[in-house]
Symmetry: C2
Subunit: 271 residues, 2 copies
DNA sequence: TTGCTCCTCACGTCACGTGAGGTGGC
DNA sequence: TTGCTCCTCACGTCACGTGAGGTGGC
């Protein structure tokens, strides 16, 4: 007579609900159904089929696909095609999840920098590498860089290689008429309208991570300049502000979560 | 007033149905809803939020997760936890799909062998490697090997390293009282009840791929033996039947799709 | 009578898509 | 009037899970 559904469920490691569902859609029928009670009974063949179904399910086949694969009259060619199609799908999923892993990794690293900036507002020295950049240089005030960046983003598109930053060519803070360049590091030279590309020289620099709204950047500049004076270093121009996180970026949250790296090129004696 | 839903749909690259759905569940609200007509209007902020939502969706976040991530009052720690949890999920998915890729790859290779066996029933010579095997040796008839294999599968479990095969110690076909050993190649020695482990010697062998039911194996044996005689080789015992696909295996289909490799050890002059 | 196993039926999940039927202004 | 854009409402998808309410034999 076979196993009633509860016992079969334990043997086959499939829930009762699932077994009833598989019966309903005809993918795994009981070997016998009592016409009076409606009780389902399963035998060894059912177990074999159940195992095949579960194995294919683990391999990400849909019930519809499993039904077709397990049909008796399948031709070799059809089965082969099914498998190769599924293999391709799986390879694509792997690629997709690798890309997701990379992008989430970037966000996580950003969050970690945010934490660091929270804890220790430390001044560090860095060696900057030469960068290929695309930039728009203009005379104006800080508030204008936003528009310049949206221009830059449009023009550079998929050649963008890093976070946006601006270069300040004045040796002082200027409310108006400051000499500013909005920049993007790019993978290849880009030239269009006001956008110019060139190699931005690297070298030694003093770095401070600033967390919070742009209005409070002054405090972090003070930290950097105090360090430079204490070490008797010489300032060089232009200085940079790298916008690690700001408005218009994913997961930006409030200005409290803005993150900016101040980079001031220096020269002088090494520690 | 903002863009009506159709225009916004084009700008944001999100379907109208999806926008209405996002409004309904409050994840992306229009900036204004006309109280008379019920028309939805969207502005720049909506666009920014829509972009964030789509980016997070690409990263496999659920709408519920996105809602929480984009909430204004999120703490850094919560966001960080969210991201690391998701990163772990993604890594697990990658591992899972790699495993699926491997398993489907095995099935595909089997299908390819099936095709080959179809096309050219060729006899080839092989060099077999030494194998660590677990086996049950018995006197009886061919039909009994099935039970022996289910015993072997239970005992060897996860140490199984390859396809099941049987060894024939008689130099002839015997209907009854044949000397047979049901074998599994294993990763480490297994010993329980009638199961014994040992190193099975490899060496030179003549191989034929047999496609179809076991009753027709005779024809393939003839091919192999004809080859051996033509080349003036000497037979050695035991011979093997490797069950590449048979009953009780995934995607077995009908006996027409059974695949068995006949291996007869030989010695004699090389070609 | 209680407890157990089984049954059916309806509804929920997730992120929308499909389609019916209707509105309002050009 | 026709065509267009918008609206709501109901139902479908996929692979079940949840729960209500009921049955039959020990």
């Amino acid at each position: 007579l076979g196993y009633p559904i509860g016992e079969f469920s334990q043997i086959a490691r499939v829930s009762i609900k699932t077994l009833r569902f598989y019966h309903e859609c005809g993918i795994l029928n009981p070997s016998f159904v009592d016409p009076d009670s409606g009780y389902r009974y399963y035998n060894e063949q059912c177990l074999e089929r159940a195992r095949a179904i579960m194995t294919l399910k683990e391999m990400d086949f849909s019930l519809q696909e499993i039904r077709e694969l397990l049909a008796q009259n399948q031709k070799d060619e059809d089965i082969y095609r099914f498998l190769t199609v599924k293999a391709r799908e799986v390879r694509e999923k792997i690629l997709r999840y690798r890309e997701i892993e990379r992008r989430i990794g970037l966000l996580i690293r950003l969050e970690e920098e945010l934490k660091m900036a929270e804890r220790n507002k430390a001044v560090v020295e860095k060696d900057l590498e030469d960068l290929l950049v695309a930039g728009i240089r203009f005379q104006g005030n800080y508030a204008e860089v936003g528009q310049k960046f949206s221009q830059l983003f449009k023009v550079c598109g998929r050649y963008i290689a890093g976070r946006p930053f601006s270069l300040y060519y004045d040796g002082e803070f200027k409310e108006e008429n400051a000499d500013i360049e909005a920049c993007l590091s790019v993978r290849r030279p880009v030239k269009a309208g006001p956008v110019r590309s060139r190699l931005l020289e690297g070298g030694r620099a003093v770095a401070v991570l600033h967390r919070g709204p742009y209005e409070s950047l002054g405090g972090s500049y003070k930290l950097a300049l105090d360090y430079i004076h204490a070490k008797k270093l010489n300032l060089r121009l232009p200085s940079r502000e790298v916008y690690l996180r700001g408005p218009g970026m994913l997961l930006r949250g409030s200005p409290k979560r803005y993150l900016t790296e101040i980079l001031i090129p220096v020269e002088g004696e090494r520690a």
